[in-house]
């Protein structure tokens, strides 16, 4: 059961209880009062009738006992005060009445037991399908006993009370319904932001990390929603980072897998050739040479791979004179550059660089080696320039250049602009990826600009200070 439903149900319940109790109490009290008032009226009327009748009859001081005179006097006196509700009886016989009923059937006054002090008795109940209230008392006139009744039909009063009760009930029910409706509406509106939060949370759990709860209320729920959104944003950032890392790693592992499989396949195939086929001596020598080359290549690949993987972020930076760094690069690239017939020209100012010398050397050797491959073998004016100006190191060539579409990807592991040419130069596709990693570890920017047919410039910008 939802919170708003619980709250609404509780409110409606309490409301119903209060209204029911109040209505019932009011209704009972009103009924009691009204009925009592009408009873009192009827009793008073009977009392007045009895007194007036007896006083008047006695006033005439009837001396005669003769029947007809006496009875007509009594009738006369009674009719002076009687109305349609009055009945006069003597000894079980009706003397005067406008009614068709005999009240002594329900209210027998000759029973003297339990007679109240004022001599008046009452009856209340159903008589011939009507609600009736009657009061009666005995009157003594010259030794004769008369019974005086006032009989009132109170059906209408009862009916009115029933109608009133009905109206009360209807109004109460309407009130309860309206109250419950209002509470439900209010609670529901109040709980709506919570539902929105819940939906957002479920969608985020389902992987839609970009979802936010659109709750803008200024109450506690609004504050909760704001916190929730902050949390969702943090989760999204983290998930994006993790996804990107995982993606990079997957590509890297895929690359490693591919790069290892090619030389392994070649080695395996040539080993089988040597094992199974009756090769000529020339063919044997060729197969062995293939195997040797592939093994050397695997060895180089493994080393570069290890460096790429094991390069730590907590490098040791020391101040190194630019000259010293350049000398180290020159000496470690001398052989390969002269093999290729490429000249390396260097230039530097007297600045000192705050770097890990071994790693920075490795970075620059990779860039210089890469630049050397930008020339076709045997061409003229093949020069690579390495310059240091304050905190900026540049490696420039005037070779064939890198196509714009390849420029964005050259730092990706195993990416090669021209795979077959790169392979001929012994490229692994890892050199520039390694350079980028070293630059990142230094907090340096590694950027490249290139124009097809004119050359390429790599620029390492070390952080100042």
């Amino acid at each position: 059961m939802k919170l708003w439903q619980k709250a609404a149900a509780a409110c409606a319940g309490i409301l119903a209880l209060v209204v029911a109790v109040c209505s019932a109490a009011m209704l009972l009290y009103a009924r009691h009062t009204i009925l009592n008032m009408s009873r009192e009226q009827i009793r008073a009327k009977q009392r007045d009738l009895a007194i007036s009748f007896s006083e008047m009859t006695n006033y005439y001081r009837l001396d005669t006992d003769t029947g007809p005179v006496r009875s007509s006097l009594v009738n006369y006196c009674f009719s002076r005060f009687a109305d349609e509700s009055s009945v006069l009886m003597q000894g079980g016989e009706t003397v005067s009445s406008a009614l068709t009923i005999d009240p002594s059937k329900w209210l027998d006054l000759r029973q003297t037991q339990d007679m109240p002090l004022d001599g008046q008795r009452t009856f209340e109940g159903r008589v011939q399908g009507r609600d009736v209230f009657m009061a009666g008392g005995l009157v003594h006139i010259r030794g004769e006993e008369y019974a005086v009744y006032t009989v009132a039909d109170v059906t209408d009063i009862h009916r009115s009370l029933a109608v009133m009760g009905g109206i009360f009930l209807a109004v109460s029910l309407a009130g309860i319904a309206a109250g419950a409706g209002a509470v439900t509406l209010l609670m529901r509106r109040g709980a709506k932001p919570l539902a929105a939060l819940s939906v957002a949370a479920k969608r985020i759990a389902g992987g839609e990390y970009q979802v936010r709860a659109g709750v803008t209320t200024s109450d506690e729920i609004g504050a909760l929603a704001a916190d929730f959104n902050t949390m969702a944003a943090a989760v999204q950032t983290r998930v994006d980072e993790l996804t990107e890392t995982a993606q990079r790693q997957r590509l890297f592992i895929g690359g490693v897998n591919h790069e290892f499989k090619t030389p392994l396949t070649a080695i395996l195939l040539h080993t089988r050739l040597l094992q199974k086929v009756n090769l000529t001596e020339d063919e044997k020598a060729q197969s062995l040479s293939h195997i040797e080359k592939q093994c050397t290549w695997l060895e180089r690949l493994t080393q570069k791979l290890l460096r790429t993987i094991t390069l730590r972020q907590d490098i040791v930076k020391t101040p190194v004179p630019a000259r010293e760094l350049i000398d180290r690069v020159l000496s470690s690239t001398r052989q390969i550059m002269s093999d290729r017939g490429v000249t390396l020209l260097t230039d530097c100012d007297g600045s000192e660089l705050l770097v890990d010398a071994d790693l920075m050397q490795s970075l620059l050797v990779n860039l210089v080696d890469n630049a050397g491959k930008a020339y076709d073998p045997g061409g003229e004016d093949r020069t690579v320039w390495l310059t240091v100006r304050e905190n900026v190191i540049e490696v420039r060539d005037a070779g064939r250049g890198i196509p714009p579409e390849a420029l964005a990807r050259i730092f990706e592991p195993f990416y090669m602009v021209d795979k077959s040419r790169s392979k001929k130069h012994g490229g692994s596709g890892l050199g520039l990826a390694l350079a980028k990693q070293i630059a990142d570890a230094h907090g340096a920017k590694l950027a490249v600009t290139s124009t097809l047919g004119e050359g390429t410039t790599f620029r390492v910008e070390l952080p100042v200070g």
């Binding site: 897998n257 050739l273 592939q294």
Partner: protein, 220 residues
Amino acid sequence: MKNRILIVEDDEAIASAVALSLQVAGYDCAVFDDGAGAAEALQGDHAYDLALLDIMLPGVDGFELFDHMQTYHIPVIYMTAKTDSASEIRGLRDGAEDYVVKPFDVQTLMVRIEKVLRRTGRLNTVYRVRDVELNSETKTVTKSGQPVYLQPLEFGVLLMLLKYKNMTVTREQLMTEVWGYDYVGETRVLDIKIHSLRKKLDLTDAIRTLPKLGYRLEER
């Protein structure tokens, strides 16, 4: 008629090993190290029975090259280091006959090549060594044009040796292929069949015994 195989593989060491293995076994091979070159050459000579394509080729890759092969109705087997199922599915969905994943074994590749050639009705069913000719379709063997009767098991052994001509065929390979996986018994029966083949067809020096390895039918 030898079956002609087109090989497009940018790694020279792999290409040379595959080509050499197929050539000694009796196939004609043409090797290209890039897709563009192969596509260009196809416009002139496209009488190939099958193409072995590397997928990761510089320039025009294996998948692109496949369209050229379709033009000339050349069945394709991919040789790939890509193990991800997406590229396998793409290769086969596009209509390639089969694929092998690097690193692979040449004899496995040869089995697949044979299957594809047979399926496409291009398999050369006549094998030759010296003056001996075996027709795997009609199950007949002739020597200098004269029919020679061989027992079924002898025929099976000779066919295996001819399929992998100049290549060592291990005793296990022969036993499994000719006698069947579930054969349990004396493997000396193999030596007996080899002996009778050598005698019937005068191939004593051509069928070489490689101790502990197997046999090799040599003709180079």
